[in-house]
């Protein structure tokens, strides 16, 4: 019977000791420990989540990089193509221009030559005329040195001239 009869003394001390332990441990042990555990769990979770995010970002960045690279390659090709076209254009333009310029120069030269020739011909004609006149003068002078000669000529001219 003594075994199942709670003793007042032990009851008192147990109540005291247990309450004190409960209060002290609650304030100074369980609260800090449980908070620390929760904080640690949160931080681990956060770290995992941010690692995941970083991995995702990395993958995204890699994809972006590839995209950018491909774009750059495309751009480069385009640029090269454009440059080539431009080069061809420039060369052909230059050629065209050179031909035109050449033609123009040739034309101008031709015109100048024509002009010069015309002038030269005119001069030559004038000279020939003068010469002819001179020669004729001289010839006439020579032929008309005697009377006989003068009459013959007048006759000849008169014969040739039809009087109507």
């Amino acid at each position: 019977m003594e075994l199942i009869t709670p003793g007042i003394g032990l009851l008192f001390w147990m109540l005291l000791a247990f309450s004190v332990v409960l209060l002290i441990l609650k304030k100074f042990a369980w609260k800090p420990i449980l908070n620390a555990l929760r904080d640690r769990e949160n931080s681990i979770e956060q770290a995992l989540r941010s690692a995941d995010k970083a991995r995702e970002q990395m993958a995204k960045m890699q994809a972006d990089n590839e995209k950018i690279l491909a774009e750059a390659r495309l751009e480069r090709d385009k640029l090269i193509k454009e440059a080539r076209e431009m080069k061809d254009q420039i060369i052909s333009d230059a050629r065209q221009k050179a031909i035109e310029e050449g033609n123009k120069m040739i034309d101008a030269a031709r015109q100048a030559i024509q002009h010069e020739r015309a002038a030269a011909i005119e001069q030559i004609r004038e000279m020939v005329t003068n010469l002819s006149v001179d020669i004729a003068q001289k010839l006439l002078q020579k032929q008309l040195e005697d009377e006989k000669g003068q009459k013959e000529l007048i006759d000849k001219v008169l014969s040739q001239t039809k009087l109507n």
Binding site: E2, L3, I4, T5, P6, G7, I8, G9, L10, L11, F12, W13, M14, L15, A17, F18, V20, V21, L22, I24, L25, K26, F28, A29, W30, K31, P32, I33, L34, A36, L37, D39, R40, S43
Partner: protein, 368 residues
């Protein structure tokens, strides 16, 4: 057969080394010697067992049996008594000399209803039991385990504060799995995610309190060996705490179900309130069962261990050789029971904590 014999020899050799047999041998020799020479009263197993699982004013270490009589070697403790007539008395229990002396009109009653307790001798010769709040063996053991608990958990808490967000080290890694277990496998599923945090300090305290005291009780020498959690006063206080917390945290839903249990036919509630009576008595039986379960389990464990030890002395009294023959078997059983008790110490702490958590969960739950 051969294997069995070899096994027996092995066990005997093993026990010889451990010194258990040395102890039992010495004791039984002295026991038989004293019974043979003086024909004193024999070994009383019941008395022996109840002396060990009960409370005492001394922390008993051993009893020397000489030709002049028994000399108990024990740590004296503090006797604190309050008498209605003479007031408060505080003195060392060694003054009472194990019931052989009277100090300041106080003595330990050797018979009667207050047997083993400190009583005050009245002027007319009768004895009266004063209000006794002595530091007995159980109280001392209780204080030792309380000090141990405070030391361990305050150290652990300091470590948690010192290096936050770090992997547990040293004492933390011993304590942490149990706290995590209480949190994730007891409190969370029983009470629910929203409210479990309020009850965690109590659940942790009660779990470790029971476990520490159970384990200390299994250590056969000072500062262990007391039957603290196998004492009804101790389990009663813890059950009262659970009861008080359950009752004070009971919400509207809890009290309504107490009076008007859902899903029960009306004639069980009116005019004769059978169900409400059952529910309300359940409110008290739940902690009562907590109290009895822990007390009975731990006391039973101690009784079984002591019973097996007693066998040695009982047989030794009949015949010395028989005592020797029984001792290895007896000790083998004790070792087996000890391993079982190590498990029981943890399981009972778990059960008490789990059931407390379930009661808190029932008291705080919203609609199902």
């Amino acid at each position: 057969m051969l294997i069995f014999r070899r096994l027996t020899i092995l066990i005997i050799c093993f026990l010889g080394i451990t010194g258990y047999t040395a102890f039992s041998q010495e004791a039984s020799v002295k026991d038989t010697a004293s019974t043979a020479s003086a024909g004193k009263k024999g070994f009383n197993a019941g008395e022996f067992i109840f002396e060990h699982i009960g409370d005492a004013y001394y922390w008993h270490i051993l009893t020397l049996k000489t030709s002049h009589g028994d000399h108990p070697i024990a740590i004296p403790l503090l006797v604190i008594v309050y008498s209605k007539t003479t007031g408060l008395h505080v003195f060392c229990s060694s003054k009472l000399e194990h019931g052989n002396a009277v100090y300041d009109n106080f003595k330990i009653a050797m018979e009667g209803p207050d047997k083993g307790k400190v009583v005050e001798i009245q002027p007319d010769g009768t004895t009266v039991k004063p209000l006794d709040i002595s530091i007995t063996k159980n109280v001392a053991a209780l204080l030792v385990s309380v000090a141990l608990m405070l030391w361990i958990f305050l150290t652990a808490a300091k470590a948690y504060k010192k290096n936050p967000n770090q992997a547990p080290k040293g004492i933390q890694s011993v304590v942490e799995p149990f706290i995590m277990f209480i949190r994730d496998d007891i409190a969370r599923p029983s009470i629910g995610e929203k409210r479990y945090e309020r009850y965690m300090p109590y659940l942790c305290t009660i779990f470790f309190f029971i476990w520490f005291n159970n384990m200390m009780g299994l250590i056969p020498i000072v500062p262990g060996g007391a039957n603290v959690t196998g004492n009804i006063a101790v389990t009663m206080v813890m059950a009262l705490f659970t009861f008080a917390i359950t009752t004070f945290s009971g919400n509207k839903h809890y009290w309504r179900e107490m009076v008007d249990a859902p899903g029960v036919p009306w004639w069980l509630k009116f005019p004769l309130p059978i169900m409400p009576l059952v529910e309300i008595s359940g409110m008290f039986t739940k902690p009562f069962i907590l109290m009895i379960r822990l007390f009975a389990n731990i006391t039973a464990g101690h009784i079984v261990v002591l019973g097996f030890f007693s066998l040695i002395f009982i047989f030794g009294q009949m015949n010395v050789a028989l005592g020797y023959a029984v001792s290895p078997l007896s000790v083998a059983f004790v070792i087996f029971i000890y391993f079982l008790e190590l498990l029981v110490a943890l399981i009972q702490a778990y059960v008490f904590t789990l059931l407390s958590a379930l009661y808190f969960g029932l008291a705080t739950t919203e609609h199902h």
